[in-house]
Amino acid sequence: MSRVVKKRFTPKVLPVSERLRSFGEVVLGYDYETSVREASRCLRCPLWFAPCSKACPLRVKVPAFLEYIVKGDLEAAARKVYEDNLFPSITGRVCPQEWFCEGSCVVSKIGESVSVGLLERYVGDYARENGLDEKILAEMVSKNSGVKGRVAVVGSGPAGLSAAGWLRLRGYEVVVYEALHRPGGVLAYGIPEFRLPRSVLDHEIKKVENLGVEIRLNHVVGKTVLLSELLSEYDAVFIGSGAGTPKLLNIPGVDLNNVYTANEFLTRVNLMRAHLFPEWDTPISVGKTTLIIGGGNTAMDAARVALRLGSKPVVVYRRDREDMLKTARRDEVLHAEEEGVEFRYYLQPVEFLGDENGFVKAVRFEVMEPLNELDERGKKKIVGTGRYVEIPADTVVIAIGLEPNRLLMEESGLRFNEDGTIAVDDHLMMSLPGVFAGGDAIRGESTVVEAMADGKRAAEEIDLYVRRKKGLA
């Protein structure tokens, strides 16, 4: 193993000084030469063994596509990726690779793991920039003869887009119903442009539409159109409605002005473009110091958005950095740190304090300390110390998590778990025959790639179900 290059090649990154007031993409990725060099670090584990591929929820055949990069055949590399993953330009950018493919890479035993994510992104971007993706997809869809059935998809986040794409590829007519005026789910309203540029996302969505998927925007299932109507109009329904409702802290002062949920804060900027106000109509109000409460991806995104809006961000987490890296993508933490986001650990908010006009002016925290015990998720248990600190802030963003949006529940009469997630069986089917679900709607907050994997598997299950129902299987 002595010939293994232990250190990974670093991608081009926008200099910190240029990031402070710009929403331009931070990680600029590899060029051709670097991607070949990086791909050459892979030991090409046989596919039946390759731990990277097994750890990927989509089972992307990593060594196979890396081999094509090394050979310089990028079109073949793209084809290999597309066999399992329709959105490499998205997953390559946002997957927490350290928990999946890269986390299991054998090279990490002796050095740094192969940068699978950046390579996947490189291949995805190459295919997009050269029109190969449309070509590959057109070939994939042309393998079908005739229409097997019609499926409705609820929600156009990663789960819904993936389900729609894979269903088209299996020969189904698909209509996606989306509540908002723009498709993409969290990819559009949550994840900022400096991580996933709009042009990339728009292209990925267009790609699905070009496959023949219709996206009906401004349609709230349960209100605009009822689940029962979808069931009578379509052979099956896939629900990818996400975990769209923010959790709030039930402590005094949470109603004060300039106390935002991360979803409101990020939606105003990412979906509604409030940073371009008044050229765009939606406003946002931020002060000099923004306290972000939480330690996940959402908190990192909110902090980095606040920074770009000209405020000083301070992330306050109730545990330590080590535990934060179990909930936030490593790169985002590192980028936030190098951009100058301040971090405070072991502080739990107990009260928001307001000024005479009802705007927040400070937050009171209890100082926490770790116990020598781990909780179910492998994080250190913490207890209060009875000591308190006050941190002044004129803007607060609460980023402590999301739960499923209960909008659908009211009308549908479907069975839900206690935490609001949708209950499904081993085939991703709900208590109602013909209704399948996946993504954050069944998992609670999870990841883009897991949502996509659910969408892909649901397409397979729906195909089986519909063919069986029609006596074709």
């Binding site: 509540a179 908002l180 005026h181 309203y189 925007l217 401004n218 349609h219 709230v220 209100k223 605009t224 159109v225 009822l226 769209g244 409702t245 923010p246 709030l248 039930n250 949470v254 109603d255 004060l256 002005n257 300039n258 935002y260 949920t261 979803n263 409101e264 939606t267 105003r268 509604m272 473009r273 371009l276 106000f277 008044p278 050229e279 765009w280 109509d281 939606t282 406003p283 946002i284 109000s285 006009n357 009802g358 949006n405 209960r406 909008l407 009211e410």
Partner: protein
């Protein structure tokens, strides 16, 4: 899509706007609202539904800030809105109460009265409507008043130039003293809804209010619209927008309504200076 089919002045500051939105009109029930977006750069703006004519949705809109003024000036019959979403919010669970009062003193309240009046009448209620305007000049044209759907209709003006002199709360107080009112539905100026809640504090009737909050998505995703209701946090877009007026923390609602006052003025001034 979402073509404007009609635009008409209601008075100097309010206008009627009707758009094609068949997907909204199919399931709309009184109490539900829509969200409109003027153009790609527009804000998501909630609006009450005043009328449903086939696949067309009619709204009463007040020229207030950038969006509502731009919509009035730049959108003609035949123009298209960028988005219309809905129906959103919970439909009001209406019953046969007996005598009910509808009260409003501003554009959204006047709009809600039309749908509510028809539905309450259908359920066999005796419906009394009170619509408050500042002066006679501001009273809406008759065809846009709730008058034709109700048993008794009152106009009140603050200066007494038309109808009863005073606010709907004043007239409501008189009615409550004389009649057995079982339910009140009110919408309009938030500060007056607070007064209504206070004025009806001990009253043995139901009092519902349209809680107008600042929204973004309107689907329960962002928490912008949150209100303190009966001690806990509710989302006006998902759990409302109609709530029991006496369980709403009105100071909270009023404070949160002022969140963007400063920046909103910038947007309007910039638009007007074009």
């Amino acid at each position: 899509m979402f073509r404007v089919t009609m635009k008409e002045d209601l008075n100097e500051q309010d206008y009627y706007l009707e758009v094609e939105a068949p997907h909204v009109s199919r399931h709309w029930r009184p109490g539900q609202f829509v969200i409109i977006v003027t153009h790609e750069r527009g804000e998501r703006v909630p609006m009450s539904v005043a009328t449903i004519n086939g696949g067309r949705v009619g709204m009463f809109i007040k020229k207030l800030g950038k969006t509502s003024v731009e919509l009035y000036r730049d959108f003609k019959v035949g123009s298209s809105l960028y988005a219309v979403a809905g129906p959103l919010g919970r439909p009001l669970k209406l019953e046969s109460y007996g005598t009910v009062v509808l009260a409003s003193d501003a554009v959204c309240g006047h709009a809600e009265q039309l749908g509510l009046a028809q539905e309450l009448a259908k359920l066999g209620n005796k419906v009394i409507s009170i619509q408050t305007f500042k002066t006679e000049k501001e009273v809406y044209p008759e065809k846009y008043l709730a008058k034709k759907y109700v048993d008794e209709h009152f106009i009140t003006t603050l200066d007494g130039t038309a109808g009863y002199k005073g606010h709907y709360i004043d007239l409501l107080r008189e009615l409550l003293a004389r009649r057995e009112v079982k339910a009140v539905f009110a919408g309009g100026v938030l500060a007056n809804l607070k007064k209504l809640a206070e004025a009806t504090a001990g009253l043995n009737a139901r009092v519902y209010a349209l809680v107008r909050t600042i929204m973004v998505d309107g689907t329960g995703m962002c928490g912008s619209c949150r209100v303190r209701y009966n001690g806990v946090i509710a989302y006006a877009c998902r759990d409302g927008p109609w709530f029991d007026a006496r369980l709403v923390d009105w100071d909270d609602v009023l404070r949160r309504d002022a969140r963007f006052k400063k920046v909103e003025k910038i947007a309007l001034d910039k638009y007007l200076a074009r």
